[in-house]
Structure formats: structure tokens, C-alpha cells
């Protein structure tokens, strides 16, 4: 179990961009009315945002980052760009390199992609902190976003209605007076096959596999090119690991759950959020939720929830936030983050 105390970094701004196009759960043609109601009641998802065919995760993150850099006037001061995504523009090069150029960042800026999904935003904050903590670097731009809708099959009820697209940009700065952060993270690769796109990379390259559709269960039609999700395994993984991870962080920070202002979980589904909340014995108002309007937005779900649900509090209050990302891998990471005066913005993709 990786447990760390992180020093000398502060989050300054979080901007998130979502596509304009809205898909409503009730309109999904492969749900009966009863199924649609049960789906929304259990997952919480009423609607979600879906990017057009010509828009990528990096495009969503670009707009978020460009607005942030413009409004905070720090374009020339970025030392490192980290792009957390599992839907990059190309196999290679890294999308972070393309974004460095497109955003007009200096060529002295390091840039790399991180291949993580739902736990990726918290891992990205950890990376940013590690590069900043000694003061050698001053500003890190963390981008986190996914176009998950590109990999779901329309006739797969277990994935297609769940996911939305979003991209976020977060500015983290070296601050010798910043309050400590506390992290707990882990991996259980035995769950790798529970959330997987099996085809298309080195293990099963296109040309060597059958990519035609198959039906594995009623309402579950996909191909090896598409995302496969074992909901029960994911559910078990989350309930087994995330409550303990949250407890580890607050113990490390010498806090009680009641002293945390908000707990922002990856928005996997509302049943998971509610179950984790009950297991750590906290109240619903401390667990803001954005899944109703945006679905599961993978690596962007935590910053999206902050921007959509906590704008005023982030700007005006000193907060103790408990973040937790968990999912594909399986991978998880939880972080106690002290914030003050963080500028946030939620934008629609133009």
C-alpha cells in the first residue's frame, strides 16, 4: 500500500470542458421504459455529454487549458504538462507533445501522457506534486480527459449508456507554505480483464483478430474493438478497496471523516458513491455528485464534479477535500487535498 505525505504544492485553478450534445438515458433505444427508469435510479445517470466524431479528448482538454492559461496569464511559465488519458489522439506520438505545441507552451516544458483512467486524476496530482516539491519546477499543467464514447458499442447496455466525454485542466504551483497533502494508492492487476478493450494494440493487433460483433449476453453486443465492462467485478473492487483507502488517508492526515469538507469520488455510478459513503459513515451533502448530468467521464469526473458542484466553495473557502479515483486496472488513488481560493470554470466545447 503506497501512502505518502506530499508537500509544497497548491492547486490554483481547475477548468473543465464538456461537449454540447446531450444524450438522455430515457432515449436510449435499447432500454424499455422500465429499464431506463431502473438504470437512472441505480446509476444516477439522467443524461450525459457526447463529443462529435471529429472531437477528441485532447480537443476538450485543449479548450479547458487554453481558457485557464489565458485567464491566469501564465502560458509562458508552464514547466510540465501531464495529460492523463486512455483515449489519446494517436498510438504515437504522445498527445501531450501535440498539446504543448498547440497551447503555445515553451519548448523548455516537459510533456508526457499517463495511461490511466478513473484513478488518473489523483495520480496526476501526485505526479505534479512530486515534480514541484523541491521548487525546481514552479508550475504544472495537469490535463485529464477521455472520449470514452468512442469505444462503447451502441448495442451494449452495460457500457453505452454509462459514459460521457469531458476534458479538464488543472494548474498546480510550487508553494513552500502550502499545507501538506496525504495520499493512499494501490493496484490490483488481477482485475485487468474487468474493464478492457481487448483489440487493437500489441496483444491483439487488428488484422490478426475477428472484429465482427458478437452477443455475449442479452443486451450485450460488442466486438473486440469495444470496451468490455464487468459491472459486478468493478462494484466488488470498489466496495472492497475504496472505503479502506479513504480511511487510510484521513488517518494519515490525523482527521476524522467529519472534518473533511467534501469527498469527491470518481463518478462511476451513484450506487457505488452511496455505498462507499455509507461505509465511511458520512452524509450525502459531503459527497457531491455530477453523474446525473454527465455520466461516467473517466479521468475527468473528479475535476468535473468540482467545477459543476463546488464553484463558490472552491473560490471563497479554505477546504479539506478528500478525492478518490478508482477503476480500470484495477487502480485506485485517494488524496486529502487542502485548497484555498481555487478558480474553477465549467465550459461547453466550442
Amino acid at each position: 500500500m503506497a501512502e505518502l505525505t506530499l508537500k509544497h504544492a497548491a492547486v490554483k485553478a481547475i477548468y473543465t470542458v464538456v461537449p454540447k450534445t446531450i444524450y438522455k438515458s430515457i432515449d436510449y433505444p435499447f432500454f424499455s421504459e422500465e429499464e431506463a427508469k431502473m438504470f437512472s435510479k441505480t446509476t444516477g445517470i439522467i443524461e450525459r455529454r457526447v463529443a462529435n466524431a471529429d472531437v477528441t479528448a485532447s480537443d476538450l482538454c485543449y479548450q479547458a487549458a487554453n481558457a485557464l492559461l489565458e485567464e491566469l496569464n501564465c502560458r509562458n511559465e508552464i514547466d510540465l504538462l501531464v495529460f492523463v488519458t486512455q483515449s489519446p489522439d494517436y498510438f504515437l506520438p504522445a498527445s501531450a507533445a501535440i498539446l504543448q505545441d498547440k497551447l503555445g507552451l515553451p519548448t523548455t516544458c516537459m510533456a508526457f501522457d499517463v495511461n490511466l483512467g478513473c484513478s488518473g486524476y489523483v495520480h496526476g496530482l501526485l505526479l505534479a506534486n512530486r515534480y514541484l516539491q523541491n521548487g525546481g519546477l514552479k508550475k504544472v499543467l495537469l490535463l485529464a480527459g477521455d472520449k470514452s464514447t468512442i469505444s462503447t458499442h451502441e448495442k451494449d447496455k452495460t457500457t453505452f449508456p454509462l459514459f460521457g466525454d469531458a476534458g479538464a485542466a488543472t494548474l498546480i504551483e510550487f508553494d513552500p507554505n502550502a499545507q501538506d497533502w496525504f495520499l493512499d494508492a494501490g493496484t490490483d492487476g488481477s482485475g485487468a480483464d474487468a474493464i478492457i478493450i481487448p483489440g487493437g494494440h500489441s496483444r491483439n493487433p487488428y488484422g490478426t483478430i475477428d472484429t465482427s460483433d458478437f452477443t455475449s449476453a442479452p443486451g450485450v453486443t460488442r466486438s473486440l474493438k469495444h470496451l468490455h465492462l464487468d459491472g459486478m467485478k468493478v462494484f466488488n473492487f470498489a466496495l472492497k478497496n475504496v472505503p479502506n483507502s479513504l480511511r487510510n488517508v484521513i488517518n494519515k492526515a490525523d482527521l476524522s471523516i467529519d472534518e473533511v469538507d467534501y469527498c469527491i469520488l470518481h463518478q462511476a455510478n451513484q450506487l457505488i458513491t452511496d455505498s462507499i459513503r455509507k461505509k465511511v459513515k458520512s452524509s450525502p451533502e459531503k459527497f457531491p455528485s455530477s453523474i446525473q448530468l454527465f455520466g461516467n467521464t473517466s479521468s475527468a469526473s473528479i475535476p468535473l464534479t468540482i467545477c459543476s458542484e463546488l464553484k463558490e466553495q472552491m473560490a471563497s473557502q479554505k477546504l479539506k477535500l478528500l478525492l478518490s479515483g478508482f477503476g480500470v486496472g484495477f487502480s485506485w488513488a485517494s488524496l486529502l487535498l487542502n485548497t484555498e481560493g481555487v478558480q474553477t470554470k465549467l465550459l461547453e466545447y466550442e
Binding site: 422500465e34 429499464e35 431502473m38 438504470f39 441505480t42 446509476t43 452495460t158 464487468d230 459491472g231 459486478m232 467485478k233 462494484f235 466488488n236 466496495l239 472492497k240 450506487l271 457505488i272 452511496d274 455505498s275 455509507k278 461505509k279
Partner: protein, 83 residues
């Protein structure tokens, strides 16, 4: 822990269920509109109420409410398929 309390917990969770509808020998997958969502709700309910996390395999091995009750009690006492 009594099975009557276990049944009450389940009936309270599903608002469409009239109290008294379920018996120990009710086949839970025969509930109206049963889907994979119901399976997740059962797992969440048992975990948050009894601190017992049933796996997909364990749930599949259960047919009746009594089966669910028995495996929950078994796991409370340190047993279970994957224990």
C-alpha cells in the same frame, strides 16, 4: 441475526415490494423486472447493512432469499466461497 429482519431490510430497499411479499423461499430473480441492476443493489445493500461483500460467484450460487441469508451469515462468521 434473524431471517425475518434480513427480509425486512430487502423489502425496505425495494419500494415496489409490498411488505410481506417475500418469504425465505422466494426466488429473488423472480422479482418483477429483475436485471443486473438488482444484483448490484443486493450486493450494495448487504455490504452496507452487514459489512459483508458478496462476489458475483456467490450471488450466482444463491437461488432463494434464504440462500442469500445463509451465505451472509456464513461470511459474517468468517466463511464463504472465497474466504
Amino acid at each position: 441475526m434473524e431471517i425475518i429482519d434480513f427480509i425486512k431490510v430487502i423489502e425496505d430497499e425495494f419500494e415496489d415490494l409490498t411488505p410481506g411479499t417475500l418469504s425465505p423461499y422466494s426466488v429473488f430473480r423472480d422479482m418483477d423486472g429483475w436485471s443486473s441492476m438488482h444484483a448490484l443493489i443486493f450486493v450494495a445493500l448487504i455490504d452496507t447493512t452487514y459489512d459483508v461483500l458478496l462476489t458475483g460467484e456467490e450471488l450466482k450460487s444463491c437461488i432463494t432469499i434464504k440462500d442469500l441469508f445463509d451465505i451472509t451469515v456464513l461470511k459474517i462468521n468468517g466463511g464463504g466461497i472465497n474466504a
